[in-house]
Structures are given as C-alpha cells and as structure tokens.
C-alpha cells in the first residue's frame, strides 16, 4: 500500500510517501512525480518519515530522475527516512547521488 501526499510551497514540491513502495506500485510513484513536475518547480523533496519499505523497483524510480533533475537544475533530496529504509539507500550507494538529509529544513536549504 502506498499513499502519496503532494504539497506545493512556491517552487518547492514536497511528496510525502506513506506506506511501502514495491514493484507493483512503483509505477504510481513515477506517475506522481511526472505529473507534479511543473516547469516552475525548483526543489523536489521526498518526505520519507512514513515510508516503511522500499524495493529495488522503487529505488529505480528515484534513480531515473537524478540525471533529469540535475539537467533541469532541480534540487532533489530525501529526508526523514527511517533507519531501515535509509540503510537500503546506503547499501545501494544511492546516498552518493541523492542528498539524504535529516529534515525538511535542511532539504529546502540545499538550494542555496
């Protein structure tokens, strides 16, 4: 089960992921990001406080946006991951290409 809450704060887009991202609903996550990407968005932040689990398919979705975001000058970061999920990012090495930060303020501050 995955629920995605979208919040726009100016040019900041915050997507809160609630539940689990697996092979069956990773498409939903992809669609959700795709839909909310208006040209004026400069910062995309994933709120992972309520993310209980993420499978490789879910990680693949984030990965596929990394290059796209950097080309368009969008700052992308993830915050609030629980330890277990953070570990998954770390083992894959994804923390080297995506900024994983402790909280929202740090995430938004990244643009400066």
């Amino acid at each position: 089960m995955l629920q995605i809450e979208k919040v726009r704060e100016g040019d900041v887009l915050i997507l809160q992921l609630i539940g689990e991202v697996d092979a069956s609903n990773s498409v939903l996550l992809d669609q959700s990001i795709q839909e909310s990407l208006q040209p004026e968005i400069k910062v995309v932040v994933i709120d992972g406080k309520e993310l209980k689990y993420i499978s490789s398919a879910g990680l693949g979705v984030f990965m596929s946006y990394v290059d796209d975001f950097s080309e368009r000058g969008i700052h992308f970061s993830i915050f609030g991951l629980i330890q277990q999920v953070g570990e998954v990012f770390k083992i894959l090495g994804l923390d080297r290409v995506i900024a994983i930060v402790p909280d929202k303020t740090t995430a938004i501050a990244l643009r400066k």
Binding site: A23, Y53, S56, I91, L92, G93, L94
Partner: protein, 686 residues
C-alpha cells in the same frame, strides 16, 4: 445363429383380432343356421359377447402398438391416417347398403347368411375406426401431458373397460343404466376435450389440413353412427353387436373430441401467425444465446441478430453501423436498403447516433425515432454494448409511423443483450486462449533462464561451493556465476536486478553476458565493476540497475580480492575468531551513474582467508523477508544463525538458512521476493 427378436406384438394382436372376428362370425352363422332350421345351436349369447370383447381388446392392442411405434410422426399425418380409416369404413358401409339396395328383394338380397357376413364386416370396420381414432385422440390429449391429464385419461380408460363388460349385466337393453353409463362417459369425454395443446403448434398450412382431416373423421363417424343405429332398428339379426355401451361411448368420445378440435383449430386460424412469430423469436433467441462456435465469429452473431430483429419487428429495412474503432467487418450491413437511401437516412437520425464515444449507461435500451423521409417514417435504434463500449448500432426502419410497439422493443432489447453476451463470451474465450499461450511462453522463459544459472560451479579441492536460487514469479532477476581464470584463480559473483519478473529476467541475462565476456579479460574485481557499469549503462532501462558482489580467490596464496556494487554485504565467518562479520566496502550499484564518474564510486579490497572460513553471498530477498508481524529477517538473525553452525558443510548450512527463513516467515507465509544464496567454505590444505 438364432436371433432372439422381440415378440412381434403388433402381428400377434392383428392375427388374434382377425381370429376372434372370424370366430364371432362363425358363431353367429351357426346360430342363424340353427334358427332357420329350428335347431337349438346351444350357443349362449355370452359366448358372442365374450368373443366381441376379445376382438375389441386385440384391436386396441394392435393400435396401441402402432401408435407406440409412430411416436415421431407429426399430427397431420396421424390425422390423415385416422381420416382415411374413417372414410374407408364409411364408404364400405355405404357400398354394402348400395349392394343390398341393388339386390332388392331378390333371394340373395334376403339371404340371412350374406346379411350377417356384411353386418359383421361393417361392425369390424366401424370398431377398428373407432378404436384407432380414440387412440389417436389419446395421443393428442397427452401431448405436453401433466400428471392431472394422465390421471383423467386413466379414469376414462378404466370407465371404458367397465363399459366393455357392462353388456353382461345389461343384456343389451336400452335402459336407464345404459343411459346413465353413457352420460358419465360423455361427461368424461367432454372434460378430456379441453386438452388441445397440440393445436397452437401447428403451422398455418397444417391447420388447414387438420381442419380437412377432422372434417373427414367427423363425417365418417356420423355416417357410421347412423348406419349402426339403422342396424339396431332392424330385427333380422339374432344378436346385436353394435348396440353396446362401449361402442356408443366410443362414438361419443370420437365425435366430441373431433368437434372440439375442429372448432378450436378453426378459431385458432386468425391468431396462428402470432404464435408462429413467438416460436420463431424463441428459436432465434436460442440461436443467439448459444455461445459462438469456434468456426463462427462476431460478425455472424450480428448477422443473426439483424435478421432476428427484422423478423421480430416486421421492419421494412435495416442496417448495422459499426463502431469505426472496433476491428469488425460485415459483408453485407444493409438489409433491403439502397446505399443512397442509407446516406439519406443517416442524416435524418439524431446526432448522438454518430457519437461513438458516448458514455453508455446500463439502461442502454433500443429507442425509436420519427423519420422525415419520403418512404420510411419510423426507425428503431438498437445500441450494442460489449464491455461497456459501443460495438455497433442496428437501425431498423419501417414505412409506417410509430411502427415499433413496446413488445417489439422489449424483444429486440433482449435479442441485443443476448447477442452482446455472446460476443463478450467469445472475446473472453479468446483472451483465455491467448493467456494460456503466454503461460506457455513464460514456461519456456523459465526454462531458458534456469539454464543461465550454472549447474556446475567451478571450484578446486581447496574450497566447497554451493548455490541456491528461488523466484516468486516464473522468471526472476537474481544471478550467480563462477569462472576459473587459471589453475589457482577463481572468480564468483552474485547479482540482483532491480524490479521483478520478465524485465528483471532480461537484464539478468545481460548481466550474465557482461560477466562472462569481461571476466575473460583478466580484470580484477574493481575494474570489472567499472567496465560492467559502462557496458550495462548502454543497455539497461533508465529506471533499472543491477547490484553485484564479486570475489576473486587465489587458492595458492589464500588471498582474495573483492568489490561490491550496491549489493548486500557478504557475510564472512572467520574460523579463527569464531564469529561472522559483514564485509564493509563502498560501492555504487551498476547503472546508477552512467558515466566515467563511476570509477570514484567503487572500491576494491583484498585480504587473506583461512581454512574453515566461509563466505555467504546473498540477495536482499533473504534479509527483507518478513514474518506475520512485519519484522524483517535482517542482518543480525542471519549472522547469529551462521555463527551457530560453523561445522556444517556448505550444502547443509545453506539448507539450514533456507529452513530457518521459512520458519521465520511462517508456515504458509510466502516469501514474496526472489532470493539467492551462495555458500563458499574453505577447506584444510592437504
């Protein structure tokens, strides 16, 4: 060989009936001889009556047998048989009278023997006609029988049987008891005459024939009745065979039921077409409801539907308009309509007729519209919905205004729904067949993929290795492989493709290709990862990546080199410290950074190993398996498990891990991810 045929009941009955008739004749002749010569023949009346009854009985059995054999014969043919028997009997009777009239007062004309013979012949024909016709009526009465009708008939038969023996008590007197019996039998006959269900099923033409044959039967019965009454009034015969209750009641029954049938058939004539119409509709409905046969197709169903609709509504013309987005073609969509008229009529139809993307509701009923066309005045539009999309529309047109009444609309609506169900079933069946084919394809894929995992793992005497892989779907994305570089150098790898199923399986096959080609170049683990990343970057989809863990062992120097690309860290058990640790080394998954930059994200480490040490390479499916409270199997549980079994050979250790995993997940808990396991154990040097 002797054939044990069934007893020829018909022939026996015929023979016995003739024999008893002859006996009856003989007895009467003897009696007349006695009277003429003033001799007492000594033959009592009861003998005659007995023989008469036996004659009736066998005639009855004969005809019962004939009717039993001709169950499948239609009503009109049966009526024709009855009518012909009647006409024969009646004409024979008339001829007899004519002969005697011609003979006049001549000696032969007054000869009592000759008169008796002709009387007996007339009696026989009349009886045969009456009994056969009564059985024909039985056949008609019991058409579509119910328990009640069968009971009624049984009562009638029983009463007739009683009437047969009535003569022994009544001694052929026309008294009140005779009259009483006759009245009762007539009442039952009238009651039985209400059973005329066979008539509506006759076609219009058949009804006319039926009327004719019934008329013949009634005419013959009446003529015979008058003849027999005339005989009864003559005093020249010693024993009257015909004035008995049985025959009189039979006359009554034959005439009453014949008359009822005649009248009902006559009055059914005008409404006959309505019944025929309903019957055709029912047959059409049946045709439509039969699921489409393999050799038939949706177009044929639509063809049947259009014809059924035209038949049900007496339309003057019709056509099918197909939804242009549906892959359907109809050879002849027009019925009694010229293409030029079609264009005219289409322009007159409401705008929504052309709107194929209409969101249909469940109440998609046929609806009628008025037309302002010189020839056609009204139209009925029949939308056909399959899977909630508009498949086609049938347009029925009539030359009269408001030509479609409620009944027609209802029946056409039912036809349309049934046809749609047929088409839908046909599509579902096809889908089922093709999904079956996909299943077969998947099985092939599964076989091919299994072959990608090595059956034999390269290894020397100095270490043991075993591997296990489990996929939840038919195919999966886990990978392991080995390669012997030279006498002392061995490489083994474990990998995991992101995602699941078929796409993961294809990427896994690519990974195998990359490993088998690059490893032959003698690349070390670190360089291998860099080249593999570069190769896979060009062929992996943007949102896919592969994690891998690779080891290169030198059995001579007991050294190893290792690199990890985003994969689950390998568990290393050291015999010396008697503890297990996960090997920590940096490394980014393959295909995440798709440029030269990747070099900065991979690390290679080296070290020594001791005999008794062992390595557990695994994929995340094991660690991420969860029990019923959502807890993961996790790193610690695996580490502790391995530490408790340091002495087990690799295969048994591997089994212990799998068992423990299943136990953790729970009895019927499914492990919903692919998982793989490679166990390597270093042996004592010999």
């Amino acid at each position: 060989m002797i054939k044990t045929n069934a007893i020829p009941l018909g022939k026996i009955s015929l023979l016995l009936a003739i024999l008893f008739w002859l006996a009856l004749l003989l007895v009467d002749l003897v009696r007349i001889f006695g009277v003429i010569n003033n001799l007492d023949s000594g033959i009592s009346e009861e003998v005659t009556w007995g023989l008469e009854i036996l004659f009736f009985f066998f005639t009855y059995f004969l005809y019962r047998h004939i009717f039993w054999k001709s169950k499948q014969v239609d009503f009109v043919t049966l009526l024709w048989r009855g009518a012909s028997t009647g006409l024969f009997a009646a004409i024979a009777g008339l001829l007899t009278e004519l002969i005697f009239y011609a003979l006049g007062d001549s000696k032969i004309g007054k000869d009592p023997f000759l008169q008796t013979i002709f009387y007996h012949l007339n009696f026989a024909w009349s009886s045969v006609f009456l009994i056969s016709t009564a059985l024909l009526w039985k056949h008609l009465i019991l058409y579509q029988k119910t328990k009640k009708v069968v009971k009624q008939w049984q009562v009638f038969e029983l009463s007739m049987l009683t009437a047969l023996f009535f003569i022994f008590f009544n001694h052929n007197n026309f008294d009140y008891s005779f009259l009483f019996g006759l009245v009762i039998l007539l009442v039952i006959s009238i009651l039985l005459s209400a059973n005329l269900k066979w008539i509506p099923y006759l076609k219009f033409k058949e009804k006319w024939k039926t009327l004719l044959f019934l008329f013949f039967i009634l005419l013959s019965a009446t003529l015979l009745f008058y003849r027999i009454l005339a005989y009864g009034n003559e005093e020249r015969f010693q024993i009257n065979l015909t004035d008995n209750l049985f025959l009189m009641a039979l006359f009554g029954f034959v005439i009453v039921y014949g008359l009822f049938s005649f009248l009902v058939t006559l009055f059914n004539l005008p409404t006959s077409s309505v019944f025929e119409q309903k019957l055709t509709e029912a047959l059409n409905f049946q045709k439509l409801s039969q699921s489409i046969q393999p050799e038939e197709n949706e177009e044929q169903v639509l063809d049947i539907l259009v014809d059924s609709c035209i038949g049900a509504s007496f339309s003057d013309g019709a056509w099918i308009a197909l939804n242009p987005t549906e892959q359907l073609k109809i050879q002849n969509p027009l019925r009694s309509i010229e293409p030029s008229t079609l264009t005219e009529l289409t322009a007159l139809l409401p705008a929504e007729f052309q709107n194929w993307s209409l969101t249909p509701t469940n109440e998609f009923q046929p609806y009628s519209v008025r037309l302002k066309h010189p020839r056609y005045k009204s139209a009925l539009l029949v939308p056909l919905l399959v899977n909630k999309t508009l498949l086609a529309q049938i347009v029925l047109v009539k030359e009269v205004k408001e030509g479609f009444n409620k009944e027609m609309v209802n029946i056409i609506g039912t036809f349309a729904r049934q046809a749609c169900i047929s088409v839908e079933n046909h599509r579902l069946l096809n889908q089922a067949i093709s999904s079956e084919r996909y299943q077969e394809e998947l099985k092939i894929a599964q076989r091919v993929q299994k072959a990608l995992l090595p059956l034999k793992l390269d290894h020397p005497n100095s270490f043991d290795i075993c591997a296990y892989s489990n996929t939840t779907d038919e195919v999966g994305g886990d990978y392991y492989d080995t390669y012997q570089v030279d006498e002392h150098k061995f490489v083994f790898i474990i990998g995991d493709v992101s995602g699941k199923g078929t796409s993961a399986a294809f990427h896994m096959a690519q990974m195998k290709g990359v490993f088998q080609s690059l490893i032959q170049l003698g690349l070390g683990p670190g360089d291998f990862m860099i080249k593999a990343n570069s190769a896979l970057s060009k062929c992996l989809e943007r949102n896919h990546f592969i994690t891998a863990s690779i080891f290169e062992l030198d059995t001579h120097s007991q050294q190893f080199r290792h690199a990890r690309a985003g994969h689950i860290p390998t568990l290393w058990y050291s015999a010396q410290t008697q503890s297990a640790e996960y090997i920590v080394v940096d490394g980014l998954g393959l295909g995440i950074v798709r440029n030269q930059n990747y070099e900065n994200h991979v690390q290679e480490i080296a070290g020594n190993y001791q005999p008794g040490d062992f390595l557990i390479l695994l994929t995340d499916g094991i660690l991420e398996s969860r029990n019923d409270v959502g807890e993961q199997f996790g790193y610690t549980r695996l580490k502790e498990l391995v530490e408790s079994y340091p002495q087990l050979p690799p295969v048994e250790l591997q089994q212990a891990i799998i068992d423990s995993l299943h136990q953790f997940v729970g009895g019927d808990g499914m492990i919903d991810d692919d998982y793989s396991l490679v166990v390597v154990k270093f042996k004592e040097r010999k």
